[in-house]
Structures are given as C-alpha cells and as structure tokens.
C-alpha cells in the first residue's frame, strides 16, 4: 500500500456548504421519514405565514392543501394573506439556508434561525428534483411575482429557474408556496391533521382552511378578532450571551467605544452598569470594540458575570392567556373540570419567558391511561420527542398523587386528564434544529412545575369534591335499595295495602333525603366542545382506504372459524357416543358466541 502524502490528502478536503450538510443530514431538521417530512413541511410553511401576518398586524387566514400526486409524491400548497415579499427578497428567503430576519433579534416569533422553509424547499428538490413555485403579491395595485426556485447546494445560493409577473386577482396581498415532495399521509397522532388542529387551538385569531389528500376540507374558523399583543423585539441581555456570540457582536458593531457598545447592543445596560462591567473586566470604557482581542473578550465575558444587572424587561413577550388557552382546550376535550394558569414572566440565561398551563379532567377521557400531554412553544405545537422535552420531565417530576392523579415514582401520571403546557420566550431553547423538544433549563423546569402545581391544587379540590359526591351517590342508591324492604316488612307485619306501602316508601325517601341535603351533581357542562374537532388526530394511524379491507378480513376470519366448527360437528356425528348430544349443545353455544363476536367486529 502506497502512503498518501499530505498534499494529496489536502486536495480532497474542501468547503462544505450548509446546504450540502443538510442534504446529508436531513433528519437534523426533522425530515427523517416521509410521514414526518410532510408534517415538518406544513409546519415550516404555516409558521412562516403566521409570523409574517402577525408582524404586519394582519389577522391571518391561511389555507393549506395537500394533493397526492402518486403513491409517494405530494404537492403542498400553502397560501396566506400576509404582507407579501418583495421580488428581490423571495429567492434568498426561500432558497438560502440560514437567511432570515429572526436570527439576529430576540422576539417570540415562531421561526428563529431562517432554516425551516428553505430546508423544506431543499427536501422537495432532493426527493423530486422539481423546483418550488413561489407566488407573492405585496399590493393590490401591483402584479404578483411568480418565481420558480431551486437551491444550489454547493454554494447555498438560490437558483432562479424562472421569474415572471402574473395576475393574482383573488388576493390583495399574500404569499403562496407550492412544493412537491416525497411523503406519506396518515391520520392519527403526529399527523398533519393533528398539528393543524393544535395550531388552531393555540392561535384563536387564526382562520385555517385545510384540504387533506382525501380532498376533505376542514375549516378552523378564528374565534377571536383580537390579534395577540404585538411582539416586541428586545436586544440580548448580557447574562444570556455566549462568548462566541459576544466576539461576533464586537466585530460587527457600529459602536465606537466599549461604553457605547454595551449600552446600545444590550438591554438593561445603562452608563453606570457599562462602567461597572468594564471595571470588572479590566477594560477601559473608551476602548474601541474592534480592538478587543479574544482574551479581552473572555475577560469581558467573565466581567459581565461578576456584574449585577437587572433582569430583562418582560413586556416583550405576550402569553396566549390562561382564559384563551382554556377555551381552546374546551373545544378539544369534553371534560368535567378545566383550569388554567399563566405564570408571571421569568428569566433563563437572560431570556425572558412565560409558562402557561391548562388542564382538563374527567368527562370522556380514559381513566386508566397515562395523561395526555399537549406541548406548545411560541404557539407552535410540539408533536415529536415528547420524552426528551423539559415539559415532559417537569410533569414527571411533579408529585401528582397530591393532586388527585395516580403516579408511580417520577413517571407520567395516570388519569382522565389532559395537560397543556405552553412556553413563550424571545428565544425558546430547543434541543435540536427540528424544534421538537425544550431543553432542560433549571429555571424553565422550575416555572413549569410551579404552574403545574398551581393547576394541581385546583384539580385536587375538584377530585375530592367529585369523590365526595360519588360516595354520597352510592349512599343514596344504598338507601333507595333498602327503602322498599323496610316498607315491605311493615306491610307484612301490619297487613297494610300496597297504597299504604307506597306512601311509606315516599315518606322514607323524604325523611332520609331530608337528613342528607341536596345532592350536587357533576356534569359535563361544556358548550364549547367541538366533537368534530376533537376527532381530528385521534383516529388510528391507518393509511386511508385500508380500513374497509381490515373489516372484511375480520369477517372472513369469523367465517373460517365457523367452517372449522362445522367440521367438528361432522366428526362428532361420526362418533356415535352417548355424549354426542352434549357436545353438539356445547358447539351450538360456541356458535352463538362466535356470531356475537362477528356482530361486534362488524360494528
């Protein structure tokens, strides 16, 4: 074997573009399998549309259409009534990874990094070779731009296939994207259907029109005309900054001095605090930021830590609101009891955040299963990686037995209950780019637990009340069971007639009820419940169309069983034995039960 020289080896090493990287590692963005890919694509498109509408203060109306092109190919069309995008921006926004408006600012938008939508384009391009079609209109007097786009994976630059001005009469402004991609459409948990439903629940101001590949249209109308409070952008808080980011900021800042840099680039840093930071970092306030070396930056980083800086402002984030969250839950779940809470703002790593929890108990929910957990971050449903999420671990580490649910040590509690947890923050710490689970920060876990406990306390008082009423109900039925016996005994002893006996029963009822007071009733009182909505996503995850086959298969099985039994009877008849009759009798019984089974399977 000939040894290769360093020069030879060096020839092979070359720059990897970010697009190339994700081409090979598409699971990092959530495109692991066809089913999930379809969901992620819809999610990224809807997130973008919602962010755009809200930023422009337009009440969002988004339509999503999925068309099945063949067994594995789907076309996704997402159209919004947002502000539209100017022609020159379209290629970069959709076809350049890590290009976006949201990465360098801190605000509680859904999108963060500028990866999602272009990654979706990339995925479509990789699986179909076809370009994406973007249609956007910014003004009712202008024509729309229709641009066909691809991504050059080598350079991570947009590749414009075609660009033209077109008439788009039905919209004054808005954007429509059309991407073909490989996918699989299944109903049930973690489906596009469920994702969109949950999105509608936590975005009550959104109207969503969804047409699934079976050409079934579902409309989620908005329930409030009120937009969420305008998202305020804040500068980073010094405590939340990492060294690398700090160095970058020092490089690009327009500030002339360190004093200026600290007061203009950060929140909560006034002249006094800036001086103190410089002192703690052994830097002169007049030093030019461009002259700061890596070592000096490290000193600054340590200096910030040593300085006492007040927490960031929290008015930059707006929660959904406990009431709205509970309303959404009422649509989804028909329960006996609801409660919700919004925690006051808190801070992790310099990022303000708010935790909200809502809870639905009893009613039509199954009592012997683990509770259902619904996770949201900045109004986006989180459907995957429940086990890795800080929300899940917070739920597991809460002592639910104190709050009326069953729980074996630090596991998901069991009971007829749904728990909704929502985190709003200017920067949601996801465990990965596919944004599926929250990272375990102590401050976040603590806040989630406090919110859960707050709801838990309300829950346990309801559970106790319910138990009391149930016991009372049992006692009542016990009384009612034995009243006739007391009356009957008296009738027998005194030779009374039936009318007198009835009178005694009535009197006894009155006497005993009187001493027990009014019986409170727990009923499901939920006019908001929407059974159609609740059904979405709760179907079994079966490929559409296969359901019928399965049913007929089952009835075939029953027929098979019957055949076997007929054979059995033949054998018995051949064996002329005394107990033939018995056997046949037994077989008949079996036959009846089989028929019974058949009926239930067919139902």
């Amino acid at each position: 074997m000939t040894r290769k020289s360093a020069e030879e080896l060096a020839k092979k090493a070359r720059q990897i573009s970010i697009s190339e990287f994700f081409e090979k590692n598409r699971h990092l963005l959530g495109f692991d399998n066809p089913r999930k890919a379809l969901l992620i694509a819809v999610k990224e498109a809807v997130d973008n549309a919602l962010d755009a509408c809200e930023e422009a203060r337009i009440l969002p109306e988004i339509s999503i259409e999925l068309i099945q092109l063949n067994d594995t190919l789907f076309r996704m069309i997402v159209e919004d009534n947002g502000p539209g995008i100017i022609e020159s921006q379209i290629p970069k926004i959709f076809a350049k990874l890590l290009y976006g408006s949201k990465f360098h600012k801190l605000s509680s938008t859904r999108g963060q990094q500028g990866i999602g939508i272009s990654a979706t384009l990339l995925y479509g391009q990789l699986t179909t070779g076809r370009p994406a079609v973007i249609l956007s209109k910014i003004n009712k007097d202008k024509e729309a731009d229709k641009i066909k786009l691809k991504i050059n994976t080598q350079t991570n630059n947009p590749d414009i296939v075609s660009s033209e001005k077109v008439e788009w009469a039905e919209k004054n402004h808005g954007t429509r994207i059309e991407i073909d991609m490989e996918g699989a459409y299944l109903k049930g948990k973690q489906s596009v259907d469920e994702y969109l439903k949950e999105t509608a629940i936590v975005n009550p101001h959104l109207t969503l029109i969804y047409t699934n590949p079976n050409a079934e249209q579902i409309i989620f109308p908005r329930v409030t005309e009120e937009m969420p409070a305008e998202i305020k952008e804040i500068k980073p808080h010094p405590y939340g900054i990492e060294l690398g980011r700090l160095i970058k900021m020092l490089e690009v800042t327009a500030a002339k001095t360190m004093q200026q840099f600290l007061t203009t680039e950060f929140v909560r840093v006034g002249p006094g605090t800036a001086k103190e930071i410089c002192q703690n970092s052994a830097l002169l306030p007049k030093t030019k930021p461009k002259k700061i070396t890596r070592e000096m930056a490290e000193g600054l980083y340590q200096g910030i830590k040593k300085t006492k800086i007040i927490s960031p402002p929290t008015d930059c984030i707006s929660p959904i609101g406990a009431e709205e969250l509970e309303k959404g839950l009422r649509k989804e779940i028909n329960a006996e009891f609801y409660c919700s809470t919004t925690r006051p703002p808190s801070v992790y790593r310099g990022n303000p955040f708010i935790i909200e929890v809502a809870l639905a108990f009893g009613g039509e929910q199954e009592a012997d299963k683990t509770v259902r957990i619904m996770r949201f971050a900045n109004r986006v449903p989180l459907l995957y990686q429940q086990g890795a999420c800080a929300i899940t671990s917070s739920i597991m580490n809460t002592a639910w037995r104190n709050y009326g649910l069953q729980q074996s040590r630090t596991s998901i509690p069991v009971g007829p209950c749904t728990i909704v947890v929502h985190m709003t923050s200017v920067w949601v710490p996801f465990t990965s780019e596919s944004k599926e689970a929250l990272a375990n920060y102590n401050e976040i876990v603590k806040e989630i637990k406090l919110a859960l406990q707050e709801c838990g306390r309300k829950l346990v008082s309801f559970v106790n009340k319910k138990k009391k009423i149930k016991d009372e109900g049992k006692k009542r039925s016990y009384i009612e069971k034995y009243i006739p016996h007391v009356a009957e005994a008296l009738r027998e002893l005194l030779g009374l007639d039936e009318i007198t006996k009835k009178k005694i029963e009535d009197n006894l009822g009155e006497i005993l009820e009187h001493t027990r007071g009014e019986l409170e009733e727990i009923k499901i009182d939920n006019p908001d419940y929407d059974p159609e909505l609740a059904k979405i996503g709760s179907e079994k995850a079966e490929l559409s169309g296969t359901l019928k086959d399965k049913k007929s298969l089952k009835s075939n099985e029953v027929k098979e069983i019957k055949k076997v039994q007929e054979k059995k009877e033949d054998i018995i008849e051949n064996n002329v034995e005394n107990n033939v009759e018995n056997n046949v009798e037994n077989n008949k019984e079996d036959d009846i039960t089989t028929n019974g089974n058949k009926q239930t399977t067919l139902i």
């Binding site: 006692k475 009542r476 016990y478 009384i479 069971k481 034995y482 009243i483 016996h485 007391v486 009957e488 005994a489 008296l490 027998e492 002893l493 005194l494 009374l496 009178k503 005694i504 009197n507 006894l508 009155e510 006497i511 005993l512 009187h514 001493t515 027990r516």
Partner: protein, 367 residues
Amino acid sequence: MATKTGKQNIVIKKIEELAKDVWNTISRLKQPELEMPIRALSNVKYDEKEGYFKIQDRVKLRTLTASTIKTFAQSLRMMGLSKSLIEAEDIATKREAYYVSKNWGDARFKEQPESDTVMDDIEAMMRVNREQIGFIPEEKGGDVAGKLIVIDKDQDTGKEIKIDCTKFGSGAYSVPSSVEELRFETNAKFILAIETAGMFQRLVKHNYWKKSDCILISMGGVPTRACRRFIRKLADDKKLPVYVFTDGDPYGFGSIYRTLKVGSGNAAHINKFFCVPQAQFIGITPQDIVDYKLPTHPLKDVDIKKIKDLIKNDPFIIHHKPWQKALKQMATMKVRAEQQALAKHGLNFVISDYLPKKLKDQKTWLP
C-alpha cells in the same frame, strides 16, 4: 298449652306494637327508631340475692339512617318471620331463618352470623327467649345419664312417654333444644355437671351415678341455653344441689362455670331463666393442682389476658373474693390443669378419691 298460646300472643302483640310505632313515626316524617337493651357484661349487675347477672337499663337505639337502613330492614323482616312462625305454631332453626332471608332480595343475609345477631337483637327487644319468637338453635343441649326419668311427649300422638336415663348403657340421653315442657322424676341426691365428654364417659362407664346417687350431665364446653335451662329446671323442680366439675383453667372458671351459674353478657336479657344460681364449683381449682400434684400446661398469653379480664371486668368474679384469690393464684403459678390430669394417679382415681373427697369437704369448693 293455654299459657303458651297466651305468651305467644303477647309476643305477637309486642311485635305489632313495635311495627306500628315505626309506621307512625315514618308517617310523621320522623326517623323511626328501634330500641334494644345492650347485651354485654358492661350492662349487667351481679344480683347476689337472685344469684344471676341481671340486665341493666342501658339501651342502644337503632335509628333509621343511610348507614343503618339495611339492618333496619332486616330487623323488621326478621320480626315478620318471627310473627308468621308463631302464628303457624312453627319453629325455624337459626340456619333455616338464614335461608329464609335469601327470599328477601337485597335485604338477604350474606352469612349466618349476621342473621344470628339480628335474631338476638329482636329477642332482646322483646325481652323473651329465642324459642318464644319461633327460633331454635341448632346446638346440642348436652348429655344426661343417671338416676333420672324425663317425662316427654310422643311427637306424633302427644302421649306422655317416660325416658329412663339409667337405661342408656354406655350412651346417654340427649337434652332437646326446647326443655320447657319436660317434667322429671328422680331420687338422686345431686346433679354433677361435667365440662368434657371424656370425663363424662369415664364416669358413665364406671356407673359413678349408681355409686353416688346422682345425675351426670355433660356440658361439652360452654353450656348451651337448653343445657342451662334443663339443669335449672331439674334442680328447681327436684330441689337438688348442682356441682360443676371443669378443667382447672380460666376458660373453665370464667366461661363455663360462670355462664352456667349466673348467665352471660350476650344473653343478658334472658339470664333470669338461663342460669343455675345453686351451682357450686368442685374443681379443678388452682389449689387442687398443688394438693394433687397434677401434671400441668403453662398458661398461654390468652389465658393470662383472660385472667386479668375476669378480675377486672367480670361482675361475678369481682363479687367473689375466693374466686379472685384463686385466679391470682393461678396467675402466679402460671400453669393450668385438665380434668383428665387426675389419671396420673390411676384411671379411676377420680371416682375413688377425688370426687368423694371433694364432695365431702366444702372448704375446697369455690362459690
């Protein structure tokens, strides 16, 4: 028969009165109550003059509430059963009554002890004997051998028949569950009531009754009501002394002898008829264990507990100093001895030495 019917009419009247009371109370929309005496040692007093545990006037009220409605219904239905039994001049065993309740739907008894308790409550409510409300126990009354002729009736013809208790050979006459109608003929000098069937067998086998002119009765543990009533009736009618011969242990003293002599807490309401105040205890005493050097068994924890309980709570023991002394003596000795332990000195030692000596020396008895 006239008295019997009269008595039964009284019971029916009482039952009807109670039922009417309940009905009236319900009509007034008030919670009805059933009142019954408390049947426990805590509600009896030892009456020395009368010689038995007299019931006191503490009562328990069974008020009709959500939690008592089942027993309330059962009590009323049991009263109904009792009434129909008396009217039909029929009787039912406790077990039969339990089975009758199976017709009562949800008000039926799950286990016989439940129906027994309700029955005892009604009996106490009426302040009469079980037999008078139409129920009889299943338990055997006890075995009798010796110089006694029991006058009973032929169950078919009603004709008088005389049963000679000397003519049972190595067997014995069995005390029936109802003894009220029996009459007696005897020239015996005393009655000897014996705890165990084993000792009874030995005395019968060697015709002890012949040697000492007596009537032997085996109680087989705590004497049943029928057995107590039989001994009482016989002793009263024929003015015979009654001697009781039990094991030398707290159970023999406190349960068997005491119940025979003065009655029990549970049957507090009827002790008057079911006691034998003339009974005397002739062994085995703790002193006998010492005097006869009898083989012993160590006392168990339950025995020691029973001794303490007797000294502290039993009105009969509290009344009799000699009994307290004896029990304390046993507690310090920490041993007990059975009747058959006398066999240590020879199988017939009990006949040849122990009983004759005992019966002669009143100082060795206990009250």
